[in-house]
């Protein structure tokens, strides 16, 4: 379990001073390329229309046009998009980790007929891409009368064979003596799940929570399919419709992008290590 894959000590010792300088030049140039789109977005979002469409391009606006932001916010219910994204992200993450960890506990720590067969079924669906289930899910959501509701945004993504698999792999690695000891003390299975297994799974739960919440926060296709009113849109879908409203007013579109992007970037900068670990660990299937 590569839990500390990110706290790596530098391994290879570079020999020459010039080598290090060249490396830094290379890495700094790369950093500029990586940052350029962010800077360009921020710069454009503060420009007047005249400077937006200027050649040579203006990097630092002479007149800071703060009203791009107020115009963006007044033309689109960004507050509502935020609220929706928050509600959906928190609900999906909590529900997915709850249902997956309960199921993973059963798969990893309890014995019952049909366990292997059922687990195999979960594994088999891991390979099937979302696009295959997307259309029937859309139909199910409509049949249930959930179209354009929170249920549609939250419930289908709240169940994940992948999360169950990831947690089950981790749970099987926890010593079984702990369960036995707890059972001798009279603990129920629910108690063992809550007081023994979950506390010992802190790092993997945190990694999974970050992975799931970031993916849900940025998810575009599913919310695009199951919502059609502005009141139910999440941030990515709201932003994409914003684009339809302002065809060429790039300063406003960039202000909207900053509004959509900034909070996550700030949280990321503060909690960098957790983000990278969460995404890398989950992305590698917990290895």
């Amino acid at each position: 379990m590569a839990t500390d894959l990110l706290n790596m000590p530098p391994r290879r010792r570079i020999q020459s001073r010039w080598g290090a300088v060249l490396l830094h030049i290379f890495l700094l140039l790369g950093s500029v390329v990586m940052l350029l789109p962010f800077i360009w977005m921020l710069s454009t979002s503060l420009k007047t229309p005249a400077e937006t469409f200027a050649y040579p391009p203006v990097w630092i606006p002479t007149q800071i046009a703060w009203n791009n932001y107020s115009r963006a916010v007044s033309s689109m219910p960004f507050g509502r998009f935020y609220l929706n994204s928050l509600i959906v992200t928190i609900s999906v993450t909590v529900l997915q980790i709850l249902t997956s960890s309960l199921a993973a506990f059963a798969f990893a720590r309890l014995r019952f007929p049909g366990r292997n067969l059922l687990f195999l079924l979960y594994l088999a669906t891991l390979m099937i891409p979302f696009q295959v289930t997307m259309i029937p899910n859309f139909i199910i959501v409509r049949l249930l009368g959930w179209f354009d509701t929170y249920q549609a945004l939250i419930l289908p993504p709240a169940f994940s064979a992948f999360s169950t698999f990831l947690l089950r792999q981790y749970f099987t690695g926890i010593p079984f003596d702990l369960d036995e000891a707890a059972r001798i003390d009279g603990a129920t299975s629910l108690r063992i799940w809550w007081s023994v297994i979950l506390p010992l799974s802190g790092p993997v739960l945190a990694a999974l929570a970050i992975f799931v919440s970031l993916n849900t926060w940025n998810e575009f296709l599913w919310p695009l399919i199951v919502t059609n009113s502005a009141a139910m849109r999440t941030l990515p879908v709201g932003l994409s419709t914003f684009q339809g409203q302002y065809k060429v007013e790039w300063n406003l579109l960039m202000a909207g992008s900053v509004i959509a992007m900034l909070p996550v970037l700030l949280v990321y900068i503060v909690a960098q290590r957790w983000f990278i670990r969460g995404i890398a660990l989950s992305g590698m299937g917990g290895r």
């Binding site: 391994r11 830094h24 977005m41 200027a54 259309i135 029937p136 899910n137 099987t172």
Partner: protein, 322 residues
Amino acid sequence: MATQAEQPSLPTVAKRSRGGWRPGRQNEAYLFLLPSLLGFLLFIVIPVLGSLALSLMRWNLLTPPQFIGLNNYIEIFTRDPLFIQAFGNTLFYAVTIVPLQLVAGLTVALALNQGIRGVKFYRLIYFMPVVSSVVAAALIFQWMFNRDFGIVSAVFWWLGDVTGLPIAPPDWLNSSAWAKPAVVLLTVWKNMGFTMVIYLAGLQSVPEELYDAAKVDGASPWQQLLNITLPMVSPTTFFLLIIQMIGAFQLFSEPFVMTRGTGGPAGATMSIVMYIYQAAFKYSQMGKASASAWVLFAFIFACTLVQNWLQRRWVHYETGEG
């Protein structure tokens, strides 16, 4: 995939004795499974079967579905140039995005692995696009690739001015030749940090002694890269190759937002998933869209199998012996 972890929990027939297992423990397990299983059945298993059934029907959501056998599959391959085009575009995405990602990610990871200062700072920056919203990123890139005032075009205009040569940028997103590369650049920029982080982890596990031994033998840095580093990280490369390939086949948001949902010009950026989306939600062709999704799945599955077969020739696994 971590199969060794499955060992301790496999039930054996011998262990089926009553000892230690109170009655009721088994039913309890089903209670733990119940919430997950309900959702799994309703939102995964039933949709998979439903999708398979739908792919054999013609259905526009309004009139009753009609069974048409394999006609949807036949139709998309023989009478639907847009599907063929989307298929070709998706292949283009995969064969450009995957190698670019792997080379860029490995290059940066190698640079960061040299024991220099500021690794955390660089990692913070290179990983930043991974966490940012793909819709916002696609909007930015759409603006960057604006022919007249985008920052990428500005470089071309500037080069033209400086050299006096007739250099003009292509009309990126309105050009059938240049729209796809713009989507590719967005995708590589967005995901490269992930590849880099996974490679960094892979590089950490290369034993330092190998390099020491190579230096004693007088191997140049280039030879060390070719003969030690690349073979030692080949399992990481294989893993990244598979998941980046699957990701590239499923590309949707990047071309969708960058072309304002059109997949244009004239279908030049349309990916298979965009095609599925349009068939289902623009033209209400639920059967055809489902058939296309299964073709996509079959293709991903086949490519994964081929890669898995090819890996024996180039992926180096530590045997733990000798």
